[in-house]
């Protein structure tokens, strides 16, 4: 009966998945936005109001403002992981012609919530012969860096919103990478403290793998930093944003912005003719070509100068070839990063540390209850964070893919809506909640990040697991040489274009 009634294509299931994702993303987005607003604007405003001339209370209000990014991330991570687990299971089910969990709540909406409740109520078992301190510490060390490491990205994707400006670190991406290298300590620690052979082997594998694949990963990121000329994630995202580039010449703060642009790019723009000669804002109309995956504004500078007829024929051909090579290199760098990231966070096809078929469950074999839940949470959070890093480094952070002239009306409409909402709130006596630039940036960043997350799910559905020797060969004999070659290539190309 069911087969007879079934549609030829699986539109029903896909629609269910999309609906589920949209609702969940709305929840995530709304919750984080609301919390940031409450913590960053409403509470300090109320305190300020009540404080009058009390300096201590004003300071308290400021401190609460400073805590906003941390609280926003702390709200974001559990809700986001809740959705990601569900998305992974449902998405994987789609790819493998199954239905996935669809029982708890409408369409399995609350499945992960139920799982989490189950895990929280389970007994915390300390295996015999384990090292209790290390055993408890391991999940925390595994999880905590993902909270702290993600913070600078918050500033990057919200175009350096003033509430998140505090986390705009000059070391930016280096900080994020350093933080994301810590979790492997937790894995090794948990594997060793479990007093279990499988766990120990899982932990050792994880360490070997993470250390091997961190090299190409970091080299890929460093190459992009070299191309862009800064380590600061906010600046990296800013440079790829067509709207920001458009603002370089016709906004009130144009001079300031241009100075900022010059300070980042100035020294690295040796090749003549310079883009400054025809105005940097001419890059804005290239839209997504400004993203680093297409060679960043090096490539669009070339296009703009070519269109302006600034090149001789030979120079145009020569620089065109260089630009082509740069695009290829950038694509390879992105692929290199994604591969390394996949290995770093132990996802299929690099999930040797937790290979179910070989090591039971690897380093978390002995974990149960809330400690296992933390491991689980951290795994998915790490996936999200590496995706966010990729988005910021290669896919333009919170920028829209459209040319600035096309996107400007959208932004205006958005600004109108935001203004209206803020007016309503002002009537009640509350601070503004929406801001067009931040809203657009956050939405685009989430969309792109989830695109990468879904891609990771697709990869998980496709590729089989590496063998440990293949893994090491691939890492040391293929990826590291490739990343070194790319580092060298991009260094030269950057000056040639």
């Amino acid at each position: 009966m069911t087969t007879a009634a079934a549609a030829p294509y699986n539109i029903g299931e896909i629609w269910k998945f999309v609906r589920l994702s949209l609702i969940w993303m709305g929840i995530i987005f709304g919750a984080v936005w609301l919390v940031s607003w409450v913590v960053g604007a409403v509470i300090p405003a109320l305190i300020d109001q009540a404080a009058g001339k009390d300096a201590v209370l004003h300071n308290l209000a400021n401190i609460i403002r400073l805590l906003t990014p941390l609280i926003a991330v702390m709200v974001f991570i559990p809700i986001n992981a809740t959705y990601m687990v569900l998305a992974e299971r449902r998405g994987l089910a789609l790819l493998t012609v199954r239905k996935g969990p669809n029982r708890v709540g409408p369409d399995g909406f609350l499945q992960t919530g139920a799982d989490a409740v189950k895990l929280l109520f389970k007994e915390n078992i300390d295996p015999e012969g384990s090292d209790p301190l290390m055993f408890t510490l391991a999940p925390i060390i595994f999880f905590a860096p993902s909270v702290f490491g993600a913070i600078p990205l918050l500033a990057a994707v919200t175009s350096d919103h003033e509430l998140f400006h505090i986390v705009n670190l000059p070391t930016g991406i280096f900080y994020v990478l350093a933080m994301s290298s810590i979790p492997v300590v937790g894995i090794v620690m948990g594997g060793w403290a479990s007093n279990n052979k499988y766990s120990l082997v899982g932990g050792l594998r994880s360490a070997a793998q993470a250390i091997s694949y961190e090299i190409p990963l970091v080299l890929a990121v460093i190459t992009v930093c070299l191309l862009v000329g800064t380590l600061n994630v906010v600046d990296i995202a800013w440079l790829q944003n067509p709207m920001a580039l458009a603002g370089l010449d016709n906004s009130p703060q144009a001079a300031q912005a241009l100075q900022r642009w010059e300070s980042i790019r100035g020294a690295s723009h040796m090749a003549a003719p310079s883009i400054s000669s025809i105005g940097v804002n001419s890059l804005a109309d290239f839209g997504f070509l400004n993203w680093n995956i297409f060679g960043g504004d090096k490539f669009t500078s070339y296009l703009a100068l070519l269109a302006a007829g600034k090149y001789t024929v030979e120079a145009a051909i020569f620089k065109g070839l260089a630009a082509l090579l740069l695009i290829i290199s950038s694509f390879l760098l992105c692929g290199l990063y994604l591969t390394g990231a996949c290995a770093e966070i132990n996802r299929i096809p690099f999930d040797l540390p937790e290979a179910e078929s070989e090591l039971v469950s690897g380093y978390n074999t002995e974990y149960s209850g809330i400690r296992f839940a933390i491991f689980f949470l951290a795994e998915f959070t790490n996936l999200f964070i590496v995706s966010t890093i990729a988005v910021v480094m290669w896919f333009g952070g919170g920028s829209s893919p459209f040319p600035a002239t096309l996107y400007a009306p959208v932004m205006q409409a958005l600004a109108g809506v935001c203004g209206a909402v803020n007016e309503v709130l002002k009537g009640i006596g509350l601070p503004a909640i929406l801001e067009a630039t931040t809203l657009s940036g956050a939405i685009w960043a989430i969309a792109k990040t989830y695109f990468l997350v879904y891609f990771a799910i697709l990869v998980r559905g496709t590729l089989p697991r590496f063998r440990i020797d293949q893994l090491m060969d691939f890492g040391w004999k293929r990826l590291i040489p490739l990343s070194l070659i790319l580092l060298l290539t991009v260094t030269f190309l950057k000056e040639l274009i």
């Binding site: 079934a6 697709l458 990869v459 496709t462």
Partner: protein
Amino acid sequence: MFALVGRSIESLRQVARGLGTVLKHAAREPITKEFPDTMPQLAGHFRGRLALAVNPQTGDHLCISCLQCERVCPDKCIQITSHKSPETNKPELINFKIDHGLCMFCGLCTEVCPTNCIINTNDFEMADYSRESLVYDLKKLTLTQDESAHYYSKKELPMPKPKPKPAAKPAAGAAAAKPAADKPAGKPEAKAEAKPEAKPESAEAKPAAAAPEAKAAEESAAKPAETQAKAEDSAAKAIETQAKTVETATKAEETAAKSGETQQKAEEVLKAAEASTKTEESSEKPEEKTREIDLGRVPAKSDEAAETKAAEEPKKEGEQ
């Protein structure tokens, strides 16, 4: 170097192809069956819980207590309690127990059942809280008339003939003999009721060997008893008495034709056993046998053969 680049590009292409293939599968109809909500579409020959069918048309219980299933069961999970009806002088069912905890659903019992009474239903949800509750008794096993009709049509089983005796025998009984007449009258109405009084006499009347054999139906049925009574009995009985192998073969082939008949046949085997109490020997066998084998082999004739037999029966018994 170039070879390496070529291989890398090739491998990337292959990975991309794999990703594409997997992505395409997202558009496929899921093969998941949401079991408790939508029941699986099971084939008629699915071997699920065992049950006893009744005649879908009349609602008569089809079991003739032949004990074939009990004997063939590899797990010995079937336990039949029956006794010899005093009126009809045939075995009658008292209780039928199947231990589904032991059953391995091989379906052998359904193969041997001459009346297609015991069948495998499509029900497989038998989880229970204790082993004892897995032992199903007659009441639990017997299907309703509607269920029986459902499974008979689903399994494409031939409809059992409405019991011949209620139809044929009253007519015949009026015409002819005495002992034959009260049997059919007693039998269709209630198997258990009539028995107690009738039982003692029938037990004593029978020869020691004939009674159990007759009860155990075709294969083991007492040959001497049957053979002599063959002339009156059905064609099917003739087959069985003369060559069991032939008979089982034909049964397998022509289940359609026979199943209606087999029930009747078995009943008539019983009658034959009774008849044998009266007459010890008969000399007419050989010729008649061959004739009736032919009859039995022709599926189309089986129906009319049964009827003619039913008509003949009382007469011959009367003669004897």
